[in-house]
């Protein structure tokens, strides 16, 4: 029983970190409607930038993380400006292909700049674990999950209350109608990609602290999809719920199934769940059900 609760609690906390990964994806879908296959790579880039700033350059933590967020926001806006804006009147196929290409570029570029070795991020919080009622949680996971909750609430308010947030949703809903109402589509697209970059910086910091900074972190990019397919491609609440479910699936399969089905099954289990969700409920739990079947 205690193993069960332990797995459940750590699954929920890890799930919050998956929600952070997915949030960057959701913001792009909300702002431009593009299915972004490069978010995982952007997160890896963020992890490398923050680790480079904190260790090689020696910037203190309180400056290094915000600086990374700013750098990655610029990177995000740059991606929008130079890779996606030239394609803005092309088909969705071209846009998605462009994000796949971007992913490949970043996957090649990062180890060319920083080498193949494993890097680390000096931790602000020491590497203890919290022990409550016999359940242990790494401190970094705990505080990251708290940060993610705050972020998610903030983004929830941004999209439902602020003018820009509503404009972004309008653009993803119907570009032409939004444009005819005077919404600056280019601004909206640039803002959504910049946000995705900033979120990727935070995700890179958190996941880099947890797993070490390494180009193998790109696997995280594939784990974004189970989260957003389950939650609904453009729902922030969905990203939270989807993240927690993926965290639980991963945690339980690591605890109970890895021995029977082979090592590493816990990484694949969310992807199998993704297929099942596509079969049953392709628009996810909180997506717009008007998704078209053909």
């Amino acid at each position: 029983m205690s193993e069960f609760t332990q797995l459940m609690v750590s699954g929920v906390f890890t799930g919050m970190l998956y929600a952070l990964l997915a949030l960057g994806f959701v913001v792009v879908v909300k702002g431009s409607g593009v299915i972004n296959f490069s978010q995982g790579e952007v997160v890896v880039l963020g992890a490398f930038v923050v680790s480079w700033l904190l260790t090689d350059v020696g910037v203190p933590f309180w400056l290094g993380v915000p600086a990374t967020v700013v750098v990655m926001m610029v990177v995000g806006a740059g991606i929008e400006r130079f890779a996606l804006r030239p394609l803005q009147n092309e088909s969705m196929l071209a846009l998605v292909m462009a994000t796949i290409a971007l992913g490949s570029i970043i996957r090649g570029l990062v180890p060319m700049i920083w080498g193949d070795g494993l890097r680390s991020i000096p931790s602000l919080i020491d590497q203890r674990r919290y022990e409550w009622f016999g359940i242990s949680i790494p401190t970094i996971t705990f505080w990251s999950a708290v940060m993610v909750l705050i972020l998610l609430v903030a983004f929830g308010f941004f999209f439902s209350r602020s003018r820009l947030g509503l404009a972004m949703q309008a653009v993803s809903d119907d570009r032409v109608a939004a444009q005819s109402l005077g919404i600056n589509i280019r601004l909206v697209n640039a803002v959504s990609w910049a946000m995705a970059g900033g979120i990727a910086a935070l995700a890179g910091y958190v996941w880099g602290s947890l797993l070490g900074v390494d180009s193998r972190l790109v696997v995280l990019g594939a784990l974004i999809f189970p989260v957003v397919i389950l939650g609904g491609l453009e729902s922030i609440l969905g990203a939270v719920i989807g993240g927690i479910v993926v965290g639980l699936v991963e945690s339980f399969s690591a605890g109970y199934l890895n021995d029977d089905l082979g090592a590493g099954f816990s990484t694949v289990a969310p992807l199998i769940m993704l297929l099942l969700v596509l079969f049953v409920r392709p628009y996810g739990l909180f997506g717009r059900p008007e998704i078209e079947r053909v």
């Binding site: 969705m92 992913g103 570029i105 996957r107 193949d116 590493g264 297929l275 998704i291 079947r293 053909v294």
Partner: protein, 347 residues
Amino acid sequence: METGRFHEKYAEEIAVYGTPYRRIWILAVLAVTFVVVPLVASPYWLVVLTLVGIAAVGATGLNVLVGYAGQISLGHAAFAAVGAYTSGLLVSRADAPFWVAIPTAMVAAGVFSLIFGLASLRVKGLYLAIATLAAQYIVQWILSSWTWITGGFQGIVIFEPIQVGPLDTTTPTGKYLMVFIALALVVMFVENLMRSRSGRAMIAVRDQDIAAAGSAVSPLRYKLLAFFISSAIAGLSGVLYGYNAGLVSTEVFTLALSVQYLAMILVGGLGSIPGSLLGAAFITMLPIWLRDLLPAVGIELSASVEVHLLTMLFGVAILLFLVLEPRGLYGLFRNVKDYFRMWPFSY
């Protein structure tokens, strides 16, 4: 004065030999491929051309899906792996002859891909890309952790060479002939597919799925058909890889290879067979050019940096062609050709 070629009858639209010259061209290409090159080319070039041919098989297959049916697959390396392992294991464990093993492998790759196609193609949009990304990771995991399938260290499966009459795949010429016979069959099949109802249905679904459905063309059925054919051909390309290299291991069929296939068809030209071939040649030759040209300008790269540089360049190539020439190298060729055909009265 010719202003262009205009089709007045449907028969002209689907004619293989659209102009009298095409018959001569096709015969010339066949003669060069199957007679001149094997006699003239050095072993080095035979090896390079064999690699180009294997890539061209996969790229032609992927182009059926992306170019004609308008869906993206990020899992073609995985389907190639399914094909390669099916045929390799059938031959090595069940002693099946290659002419049984190869078609079985293609069907296996196609059927396996349908799991992912059925999950995602019922919905409008590019969900297939997501499902096939999952396929890529799932297959890589199966290959590396289910050792009872792949057998031992790094899942190495040995391919027995094919020896039938003059065709002997232990020699570079034999490998070259095997690959290009397969490529010729694939090209012929895809060319004819596109002249048929099914091919036109795929294009209709890509361009206007609602209109297609209104004309009694089921979008799901034709997207699935395109995906099945495309994955089966990817499986064939995996088999050819195995026979050419003599063995397959789990290291080969990575996500990077899937992206490489996408780069081939985007660089070559979406929805065109000559484009697939040109793109396959370009992307396969790129590492060779890099190896030859960079030291010439005084840049020495270590092997690992070279891999990363290539990964980056494939992405750059996709992006550049998307933005600058979406019709790819074949589109560029057509532009040049049209310019001279219309000259001096181009419009």
